[in-house]
Each structure stands twice: as structure tokens, then as C-alpha cells.
């Protein structure tokens, strides 16, 4: 029971922790402060509670497709918001700026909403899992200890990634952060395709390949890569198309953001005084 709680909570925490690490690294570069993170985390937790307590009726809605539709909606929204965030921060002469046309503030607000949606998605499952043990005096202590350990490991991996990203050489920092955001957007859209396939809104096709013999999804590395770049051992065509679309959206946003700022040089930000 202990180990199961550790693994389950770690799985659920990891993806959000890695996303927070990437967004936090960008915000630190842009000097946007950290307040957005607390807004996102707290709003996300409250809404996750509301969804978790109504999961029964949500699941039964839309002819039993409600839960998947909700997840697919949250994931697609995260993908679009990540692309919007990328538009704001690409094409800047300096990757450090003071408030430029209110962009850094808007970027922080977007990050807040992205974190909120990610926490709603992962949080409702954690809440439902823990709620199952509330009435069990036999297991609750073990489950809470296991969950805390799982949460701690997930958060630690996020913190590690955050410092690793900040420690990158200057020229590598921005491309790495943008690539991670693009892969994350792809992952979100690919996962929403899985949700829609599960309820038969997208036709199920045979997996394109099966790399589970090479790297099992349930292995530690498999789980980490699943959270970081959306690794799937048996992806379908719909998933791959969705993954490519998510990455494509972010690339388009980066291109358009760069072009916009090139053609509006008057709007270039002022460099931060050190």
C-alpha cells in the first residue's frame, strides 16, 4: 500500500512538477516574480476539489464520455495557452526584460492559468485516490505517508530540472526552454487524442509501433519521459498527428512572435538594469 501510494502520487505529481519547473525557469529569466505560481496552484486545487466531488455526474454526462471530454478540453486548452505564452516571449532581443508593453505581466498571467489547468487535471485524481482511504483507519496513515513521499520525490525532480535549466549556458537556455514547451504542448494534444479515442470520438487504429520491449512506459525512465516529452510505447496515428500539431502550433507561435516583434521595433523592451 505504501509503495503503491508513492508511485501513484509520483506519477500524478511529476508532469505538473516538470511543467512548473520549465515555466518557473522562464519567469525567473524574465524576472516576472513568482506570485503567478501560487495563484495557479491554489485556484487549480480548489477547482480540482469541485470536479473531484462531482466526478460521478461528470463521468456519466455525454453518454459516459464526460470525464474524457473534460480531460481533453483541459489538455487542449493547456496546449493553446502554451503556444500563446511562446508567442509573447519569442523575438525579444534580450531574454531578460522589464515590463514590455505589459507582456511580462501577461506572460505571468498565462502561466498562472496553465498551472491552474494542469493542477485541475492531475489534482482531481489525487483527491479521488486519497478520498477512498478517508474512512479506512487501517490504511489512511500508510497512504498519507506514501503520498507525501511520492509528492516529495516529484517536487524534488521538478526542483532539479529548474536548477539544471537555469544552469545551462546562456545560448542554450532559451532554445532548450522553447523546445521543452513545444514537446509539452505536443504531449498535451496527444493525450487529449487518447482521451477521445477511449470514448470512441476518435476511431481506434492499431498502434504505429510497440517499443515497450525497448522502454516500458511503466519503468522509471518510461514514466519520466512520459511526463517530460510524452513518451508512449504504443502510439496510434491520431496521437502522432495530435503530437505533431501541438509542436507545430508552438513553432508557428514562435515564428509569428518573432516576426511581429521584428516589424514593431519601437516596441522592443528595455534591458533590465543590473
Amino acid at each position: 500500500m505504501l509503495l503503491n501510494s508513492v508511485i501513484l502520487i509520483l506519477q500524478e505529481t511529476l508532469e505538473a512538477a516538470l511543467l512548473i519547473a520549465v515555466l518557473l525557469a522562464i519567469n525567473t529569466q524574465l524576472r516576472c516574480g513568482h506570485r503567478w505560481l501560487w495563484y495557479g496552484l491554489s485556484m487549480g486545487t480548489v477547482i480540482a476539489f469541485i470536479f473531484a466531488s462531482n466526478m460521478g455526474s461528470i463521468s456519466e454526462s455525454f453518454d459516459y464520455a464526460g470525464q474524457e471530454l473534460l480531460n481533453a478540453l483541459l489538455q487542449s486548452m493547456i496546449c493553446i495557452l502554451v503556444a500563446m505564452a511562446v508567442w509573447l516571449i519569442t523575438g525579444l532581443k534580450q531574454f531578460q526584460l522589464t515590463d514590455w508593453q505589459g507582456y511580462s505581466q501577461r506572460f505571468a498571467q498565462l502561466c498562472s492559468v496553465i498551472i491552474m489547468l494542469a493542477v485541475i487535471r492531475e489534482g482531481q485524481e489525487i483527491i479521488l485516490y486519497l478520498s477512498g482511504f478517508l474512512g479506512s483507519s487501517e490504511h489512511i496513515q500508510t497512504v498519507l505517508i506514501g503520498s507525501s513521499i511520492g509528492f516529495g520525490i516529484g517536487a524534488s525532480i521538478g526542483i532539479l530540472l529548474f536548477y539544471a535549466l537555469l544552469g545551462l549556458p546562456t545560448g542554450w537556455k532559451k532554445p532548450t526552454l522553447l523546445v521543452l514547451l513545444a514537446l509539452f504542448a505536443g504531449t498535451m494534444l496527444s493525450q487529449s487524442a487518447v482521451q477521445l479515442t477511449q470514448v470512441d470520438w476518435i476511431k481506434q487504429t492499431a498502434p504505429l509501433w510497440d517499443s515497450s520491449g525497448l522502454l516500458a512506459e511503466e519503468s522509471m525512465l518510461g514514466e519520466l519521459l512520459y511526463a517530460l516529452i510524452g513518451y508512449e510505447a504504443r502510439p496510434t496515428a491520431a496521437q502522432m498527428i495530435a503530437y505533431a500539431t501541438g509542436i507545430g502550433l508552438v513553432c508557428l507561435a514562435a515564428f509569428s512572435g518573432t516576426q511581429y516583434k521584428k516589424h514593431h521595433p519601437a516596441n522592443q523592451p528595455t534591458e533590465v538594469a543590473k
Binding site: E60, E125, Y129, V199, Q204
Partner: protein
């Protein structure tokens, strides 16, 4: 076990009781789309999960859920309850 009409997707029912799947082993036809109707009769939530089927769904206590699987190739597709994996284990044999 498999109920179907000429045109509709065959429906297969699974029950969760005391953190166990009933039946724990299902035999399904290959190359056929199946609608799994899972009844969780426990008061606690469970998560139906299968890496092989690429499926994952939380089913709250005393409720039912629908998951579509297939068309599948012949083989064994294990599934488990992620919240109580020690007991909640099952597999689908596709022939």
C-alpha cells in the same frame, strides 16, 4: 458475456467488488471494437488502467463507466485497478 446486436458495438460488462474484477479474465474476439461497461460496486473510487490497451479511467464508488477498446490483434492485454493494484488485476485474452 458478450452481448451484441447486428449493428451495435458489443458490450462487455465488468464488475469491481471488494477491489477485485469480476470476471478477472475475459475472452474477446480479435479485430472487433468492444464497449466495456465497468460497474464499480465498491464505495471507494478505482482507476481502470492498462498500458497494453492504452486506457486509463477513474471510476468513482457505486457508479459505472464506459471504455471503448479495440479492434485488437490476438494476444493478452492485462489490466489493473491503479488504486488497489495488489488485488484488482485482470486480463483480456483476444483470440
Amino acid at each position: 458475456m458478450v452481448c451484441a446486436t447486428a449493428s451495435a458495438t458489443p458490450v462487455v460488462e465488468i464488475t469491481i467488488k471488494d477491489h477485485l474484477f469480476y470476471p478477472a479474465e475475459l475472452i474477446l474476439p480479435a479485430a472487433t471494437k468492444i464497449k466495456l461497461l465497468i460497474h464499480n460496486t465498491d464505495p471507494t473510487p478505482e482507476e481502470f488502467e492498462s498500458y497494453e490497451l492504452n486506457r486509463e479511467k477513474v471510476i468513482v464508488g457505486n457508479s459505472s463507466a464506459v471504455i471503448f477498446i479495440g479492434p485488437l490483434k490476438s494476444g493478452t492485454y492485462p489490466f489493473f485497478g491503479e488504486f488497489y493494484p495488489k488485488t484488482a488485476q485482470g486480463k483480456i485474452l483476444v483470440k
